[in-house]
C-alpha cells in the first residue's frame, strides 16, 4: 500500500465521517436531555437541500450553512412542539419528521437537481496543502475543523458547565430536576433545536464536501448511522469522534473493496457495509453486561415528561 493510497483513504474517510459526526453530536445533546429524535435523516435532508438552494442563488457558502441550520432547527421544533408540549410519542413523531424531510427536500430540490454546487474548500492557503502529507492536516473543508471543535465544545459543555449539568439532570431524572425548579420542557426545547441545527449543518456537508450537487435522498441513510453512532459511543463526545472515524473508515474501505479488489476481497463488500451496525449491537450488549444490566443510556430517554401523573 503506497503512501498516496493511505493519504487518499484518510482524506476520504474524514470527509465521509464529518456529516455523521456533526449530526451525532447534535443528537447526543438531544438524547442527554432525555429526548429521542429519530428525525435526524429528515433534518439532514432539509439542511442539504437548503444549502444547495442558497449556494446556487446567492453563491455564499456561509449564508447557506446558516440557513440550513435554521431550517433544520425549525423542523426540529415541530418535533419538539409535538413531543414536549403535547407529549406525543417520540418514536412516531421522529419517523414522521424523517418522512417530512424526505418529501420536502425532494419537492423543494427539484429545480436544483443535478446543478453543480461549488465546494467549500480548505480555509488555509493552498501552498500549505500542496504537499500530500500536509494535506492530511490542512486540506479539509472548514466544516471538518468545525466538527472537531464541536466535539471539544460539547464535551466541555456537558462535563464542565452548570448548564450542561442541568441538561444531564433533566435527561437522567426529569421529575427530580422539575422538583428543584429546573424548566424541564424548556431545556429539552433548546436541546432539540440545537440537535436540529447540527443535523442541518451535517446536511450542508453533503453538497459542500462530498457530492457537489442535489439529488433526491442525497444523505443515503447517514442520519440513521448518526443515531447508531450515539449509542455506539455510549453517549460520550470523544468516543463519538473515534466512532465516527471508525464508521467512516469502514464506509471508505467498503468503497475501496468494491473498486480495488485484491486484499479487500477477502470479505464480501456487503459484510463491510453491515459491520458498523453489527458492531453497534455488540457495543450495546457489552455496555449493558459491564454495567451489570443497566445501560449507560440517559434514564429518561424517549419518555414524555408528565409532572402531574
Amino acid at each position: 500500500m503506497t503512501l498516496d493510497l493511505v493519504i487518499a483513504i484518510i482524506i476520504t474517510l474524514v470527509g465521509a465521517s464529518t456529516p455523521i459526526l456533526l449530526a451525532a453530536l447534535g443528537e447526543l445533546v438531544v438524547e442527554k436531555s432525555g429526548v429521542l429524535n429519530l428525525g435526524v435523516e429528515g433534518m439532514m435532508l432539509i439542511g442539504a437541500v437548503i444549502t444547495v438552494a442558497v449556494v446556487l442563488v446567492t453563491g455564499n457558502h456561509w449564508l447557506a450553512i446558516a440557513c440550513a441550520a435554521l431550517a433544520a432547527a425549525a423542523a426540529a421544533l415541530i418535533f419538539g412542539f409535538l413531543t414536549l408540549s403535547l407529549s406525543a410519542n417520540q418514536v412516531a413523531t421522529g419517523l414522521a419528521l424523517t418522512i417530512l424531510g424526505t418529501g420536502f427536500s425532494a419537492l423543494f430540490g427539484q429545480p436544483y437537481t443535478g446543478k453543480a454546487v461549488p465546494l467549500l474548500r480548505s480555509p488555509f492557503p493552498p501552498e500549505l496543502a500542496a504537499d500530500p502529507v500536509w494535506r492530511v492536516i490542512f486540506g479539509y473543508s472548514p466544516l471538518v475543523y468545525f466538527s472537531l471543535i464541536m466535539v471539544f465544545v460539547i464535551w466541555w459543555f456537558l462535563k464542565k458547565t452548570r448548564a450542561g449539568l442541568i441538561l444531564r439532570a433533566v435527561g437522567e431524572n426529569d421529575l427530580s430536576a422539575h422538583s428543584i425548579g429546573y424548566p424541564v420542557i424548556g431545556v429539552r426545547y433548546l436541546a432539540v433545536a440545537f440537535g436540529g441545527a447540527m443535523a442541518g449543518i451535517a446536511g450542508s456537508c453533503f453538497p459542500l464536501i462530498l457530492t457537489p450537487q442535489w439529488v433526491e435522498r442525497l444523505t443515503t441513510g447517514r442520519g440513521w448511522i448518526a443515531l447508531a453512532l450515539v449509542v455506539f459511543a455510549a453517549w460520550r463526545p470523544f468516543r463519538l469522534l473515534g466512532g465516527a472515524y471508525l464508521f467512516g473508515l469502514v464506509m471508505t474501505l467498503e468503497v475501496y473493496a468494491k473498486a480495488a479488489g485484491g486484499g479487500f476481497r477477502v470479505l464480501p463488500s456487503e459484510l463491510w457495509a453491515a459491520l458498523p451496525y453489527l458492531a453497534t449491537i455488540l457495543v450495546l450488549v457489552l455496555i449493558s453486561m459491564r454495567r451489570g444490566g443497566s445501560s449507560s443510556a440517559p434514564a429518561c430517554l424517549g419518555k414524555p415528561f408528565l409532572p402531574t401523573s
Binding site: 429521542l36 418514536v91 418529501g103 419537492l107 449509542v231 456487503e270 453491515a274 453497534t280 424517549g302
Partner: protein
C-alpha cells in the same frame, strides 16, 4: 373521540395540504382531489389499492400488537426483508419440484424468518436489557446488506445476463390471483384475515389482555403475575412473523423474485399505519387502505397534474403529525387555570 382524531387528522391534512400546495404554486385542490379521491372514485384503481394496502396492513397489525405491549419494534422493514429471503430460500430449494405444498411452505418459512430475525432483539432485550428500538433499527441495515449479498452473489440467476436478481418463481411458488381479470393476489384476503384474527385475539383472549396490561401498566402486570419478558418475546415474535409473512407475500406476489429494489419502506410506512389505526388491528386495516390511497393517488397526481411524487410524503407526514397532536385532546382535557393559585402537583 378516540376514533374521531384519525378522521379529523385526515380531513385537516386535506385542507392544509390544499392550502400549502396552492401557496407553493401547485394546483392544491387538484392535488387533494387526485391523491385522496381519484383512487376511490376510479374503479380501475381499486386493485392497486388492494395490492398496496395488503403488506402495509399485515405489518401494521403486528406492530400494533407490539406497540400495545410497549415494545418498540421499528425494524419491521428488516423482518420483512428476512422473511422474503427465507421464503425465497425455500423457493430456490424446491425450484425443480411441483406441488401445492410448496407455496404454503414458503409462507411458513417467511413467517419463521421474520420471527427469527425479531427474536434477536427479543433475546437482547430480555437477557441484556438492550433497547429494542436501536437493535431492530440496526438489524434493518444488516438485512439490506444480506439481501444485496444474496442477489448479487450466490442467488444470482444464471440466466439474468448479469442483472442482480434471483430466478423468476415458478407457478407453484407464486401467489394465485383471487379475482379474475385483476392484479389482486392471495395476499389481500390473507391481510384481511390477519387483521380480523389478531383483533379477535387481542380483544377477546387472555393473551391480548396480558399484552395490553403489560404495555399500559408494567407494575399492575407484575402484580397480576404477567411476565414482562414473555410479553416482550411474544410482541416481537408476532410483529416479526407478520412482517416476514408480508415480505414473502410480496416476493411471491407482485415481485415474483428477489431484486435489490425489494425493500420499499413498507416496514417504515406501516408504523404510520399502526398509529393511524389507533394500534387496533381493525383500525390498521382501514388505515392501510388510507395510506394506500395516498400512494396510488400520488402516482395519479404525478401523471395528471404533474405533482411530484414527493408530495405524498408531505401529506403522509402531515397526517401523522396532526394525528399525534390530536391525541393530546383524547388523553387530556383542556381546563382554564387562569388566576388559579399554583398548587403542588401530586
Amino acid at each position: 373521540m378516540l376514533y374521531a382524531t384519525p378522521v379529523a387528522a385526515v380531513l385537516i391534512t386535506m385542507v392544509l395540504g390544499a392550502l400549502i400546495f396552492t401557496l407553493l404554486g401547485y394546483d392544491g385542490l387538484g392535488a387533494v382531489r387526485e391523491i385522496f379521491f381519484t383512487p376511490l372514485t376510479n374503479p380501475y384503481k381499486w386493485q392497486d389499492l388492494a395490492v398496496k394496502a395488503s403488506p402495509l396492513v399485515i405489518i401494521a397489525v403486528g406492530l400494533a400488537v407490539s406497540y400495545r405491549a410497549n415494545v418498540w419494534n421499528i425494524g419491521a422493514e428488516g423482518q420483512y426483508i428476512v422473511g422474503a429471503v427465507a421464503g425465497t430460500g425455500v423457493a430456490l430449494l424446491t425450484y425443480d419440484m411441483t406441488g401445492p405444498w410448496i407455496l404454503p411452505l414458503m409462507l411458513l418459512a417467511g413467517i419463521a424468518g421474520g420471527a427469527a430475525y425479531a427474536a434477536i432483539p427479543a433475546f437482547l432485550r430480555t437477557q441484556f436489557k438492550v433497547n429494542e428500538i436501536l437493535t431492530t433499527l440496526m438489524l434493518t441495515y444488516v438485512s439490506v446488506q444480506l439481501l444485496n449479498y444474496l442477489v448479487f452473489g450466490p442467488w444470482k440467476s444464471p440466466t439474468s445476463m448479469g442483472q442482480p436478481q434471483t430466478v423468476l418463481f415458478s407457478a407453484d411458488q407464486s401467489l394465485p390471483y383471487v379475482i379474475p381479470g385483476t392484479i389482486v393476489q392471495l395476499g389481500t384476503p390473507i391481510a384481511i384475515l390477519v387483521a380480523i384474527l389478531v383483533w379477535f385475539v387481542m380483544s377477546r383472549s387472555v393473551f391480548g389482555f396480558q399484552v395490553r396490561v403489560v404495555g399500559a401498566s408494567p407494575a399492575a402486570a407484575r402484580y397480576g403475575g404477567f411476565s414482562a419478558n414473555r410479553t416482550v418475546w411474544l410482541a416481537l415474535l408476532v410483529s416479526g412473523g407478520l412482517a416476514g409473512l408480508a415480505g414473502i407475500l410480496e416476493a411471491a406476489g407482485p415481485f415474483g423474485r428477489l431484486v435489490p429494489q425489494f425493500p420499499t419502506n413498507y416496514g417504515f410506512t406501516a408504523i404510520i399505519v399502526a398509529f393511524l389505526g389507533r394500534l387496533n388491528p381493525l383500525g390498521a386495516l382501514l388505515a392501510g387502505i388510507i395510506l394506500a390511497i395516498t400512494f396510488v393517488g400520488g402516482e395519479v397526481a404525478q401523471t395528471t397534474i404533474a405533482l411530484p411524487f414527493a408530495a405524498v410524503g408531505i401529506f403522509q407526514a402531515m397526517m401523522l403529525f396532526l394525528l399525534l397532536a390530536g391525541d393530546v385532546l383524547v388523553r387530556y382535557r383542556i381546563r382554564r387555570v387562569a388566576n388559579e393559585p399554583a398548587r403542588a402537583s401530586a
